[in-house]
Amino acid sequence: MARKRYIHAINEALIEEMSRDPKVIVYGEDVELAIMGDTRGLLDKFGRDRIRNTPICEATLTGMAVGAAAAGCRVVLHMMFSNFIYTGFDAIANQMAKLRLMTGGQATMPITIIASYGGGGSNAAQHSDSGYPVLVNLGGVNVVMPATPADAKGLLKTAIRGNNPTFFMEAGGRGGEQGEVPEGDYTIPFGKAATLREGKDVTIIAIGSMVKPTLEAAKKLEAAGIQAEVIDPRTLVPLDEEALVAAARKTGRVVVVDEARDRCSAASHIAAVLADKAFGSLKAPVKRVTVPNVCLPYAPNAEKRMIPDADRIVRVATESARA
């Protein structure tokens, strides 16, 4: 174990997987000088046949990943901000997510797409969406949501080694956060939730960027005498329904925290799963703490108002625990 920054854990995973398998290539806009930080140093180590800047043409970058994978590469495509996933959405939704089924299993697509999501930096609506629910609905792509440096490293390595299109969603503006990261060849299987805190009074399910404020909230709740169980699904596709259902059953009181816009959010889906499969054990309404159905405003105070924070989580979890 060693303390590392989120962004460095990602960088390390990229270097390790590129060293491990010469078929791994990385491309995207400004990956060479690493505008997002995570691809820093790769060009010097691996050269332009392994990592290269592309023109600005997201619609083609996503489709190219399908072709390059079909031709034998393991593709890592960096899309910068998750809003640009929308720009390259056609090949994601109509090709990547469907080609394997449509070809009767012939197409194998070892593709990892990295994108940063979420607000907090006053980047305004076109640079702050948490655009993963639309990916989750597609069916044919994995969606992973690393909340810590360790998960970032372990999930990215699994994604790159895997044989399916996987969206690796970076929590925006969190690159500097530190955490313990296991040494060596550390991978994390998809579809395994992580219990971050044990508690008997209320179960808080926190997704990606919301794990941090949720753990903060759990501390505050404890001070108020409420023991919160905190669980992080870590991957939305595949989804560890069993673990989430068990966690819900444990307290009968559930709050799902998600930085996505509320309607058809990951929180909505998880709440729906629990309202079905954990119904018998529920003691209180299943609560969602999400971004309301607006785009994130630019002004810091207005943006802050929309993004779930520890206080909001505390308020809702307290209600739920007392309901």
Binding site: K23, I25, D49, R50, T54, P55, C57, A59, T60, L61, T62, G63, M64, A65, V66, G67, A68, A69, A70, A71, G72, C73, V75, D90, A91, N94, Q95, L99, R100, L101, M102, T103, G104, G105, Q106, A107, T108, M109, G139, G140, N142, G162, N163, N164, F190, P238
Partner: protein, 329 residues
């Protein structure tokens, strides 16, 4: 020698492949009319020379992307008639296990990366395949077949830019059949499509798409260019869509009209198969020889249909295992 004349044997092989495509689709047309086929069928009749002339220049390991009108590309690149027919009939023995159908026939083992229901969907896939070939130095090339309508999708320009920039082993083949569904291409296309490729300094050839030799020659040059690592080429093959946009088009048109019978007749006179037969006669191939060929191919088609009919329907439960590799949906 790319632009040299084909030998008699080569010409015969080209003709045979075109004939296979034609007879397969005539049968599909009949079965569509008879209501034997589940989904929509877009026929390639009249355009056979293009897929055939181009694919005759490719190795099995080379890759192609195709369109919604993809039977010809599939067969020209060496796809199995039985497996294609069974696919279109929605059977478990289909090349895609009945999961894709006419618009998605594919055989990755033969470099056929798939017909595609998204107009323009093949550009980026072919470009990515060409990128992989270049980066892994495996000497394969990629060919993107697409229609004149697809040439209005921005992804066309994006692929021109990327492939030219990186000198990718890519051949872009525009099949200009003069229509986008019920819209004459002239009404939706500004300027010459070939000029779009020229703007990226990509070698460009405009050929008679109903003359298999002309296509074969242009493709030969383009393929060698790519194989030498000199980058992409663009070929525009001028042709005409003889059939409706899709079978049962009349149902959609409900009396509406977008072209004249006379125009179709004009183009029937330039049928690529007839023209190849003339070339064969000139090369001294006896009509009896062609007679035998025709019978052989009709047999192949008949067997393909029989195979499709005898096969079990698709297995619905399989879908859950086909969404992901080694992961259940």
């Amino acid at each position: 020698m790319a632009s040299s004349e084909p030998t008699k044997a080569q010409l015969l092989a080209l003709y045979e492949r075109m004939l296979l495509i034609r007879r397969m689709e005539e049968r599909l047309r009949a079965d569509a009319a008879a209501g034997n086929l589940p989904g929509a069928v877009h026929l390639y009749i009249g355009q056979e020379a293009i897929a055939t002339g181009v694919c005759a220049r490719l190795r099995e390991s080379d890759m192609i992307t195709s369109t919604h009108r993809g039977h010809g590309h599939f067969l020209a690149k060496g796809g199995d008639p039985k497996a294609m027919m069974a696919e279109i009939w929605g059977k478990k023995t289909g090349i895609c296990k009945g999961m894709g159908g006419s618009m998605h026939v594919a055989d990755f083992s033969k470099g056929i990366l798939g017909a595609n229901g998204i107009v323009g969907g093949g550009f980026a896939i072919a470009t990515g395949a060409a990128l992989a070939s270049k980066l892994t130095h495996d000497e394969r090339i990629a060919v993107a077949f697409f229609g004149d309508g697809a040439a209005n999708q921005g992804v066309f320009m994006e692929s021109l830019n990327v492939s030219s920039l990186w000198k990718l082993p890519l051949v872009l083949v525009c099949e200009h059949n003069q229509f986008c569904e019920f819209t004459p291409s002239a009404n939706v296309t500004s300027g010459e499509i070939a000029d779009r490729a020229r703007a990226f300094k990509i070698p460009t050839r405009v050929v008679d798409g109903n003359d298999v030799v002309a296509v074969w020659q242009a493709a030969g040059e383009a393929v060698e260019h790519a194989r030498r690592g000199e980058g992409p080429s663009f070929i525009e093959a001028r042709t005409y869509r003889i059939q409706g946009h899709l079978e049962a088009e009349a149902l959609f048109l409900a009396g509406g009209k977008y072209r004249e019978e006379a125009e179709i007749e004009e183009w029937r006179k330039r049928d690529p198969l007839d023209r190849t037969r003339e070339r064969l006669a000139a090369a001294g191939v006896a009509s009896s020889e062609l007679q035998g060929l025709d019978e052989r191919i009709l047999r192949t088609v008949g067997e393909a249909v029989q195979f499709a009919k005898d096969s079990e329907p698709a297995d619905p439960e399989l879908a859950f295992d086909l969404m992901f590799a080694g992961q259940r949906a």
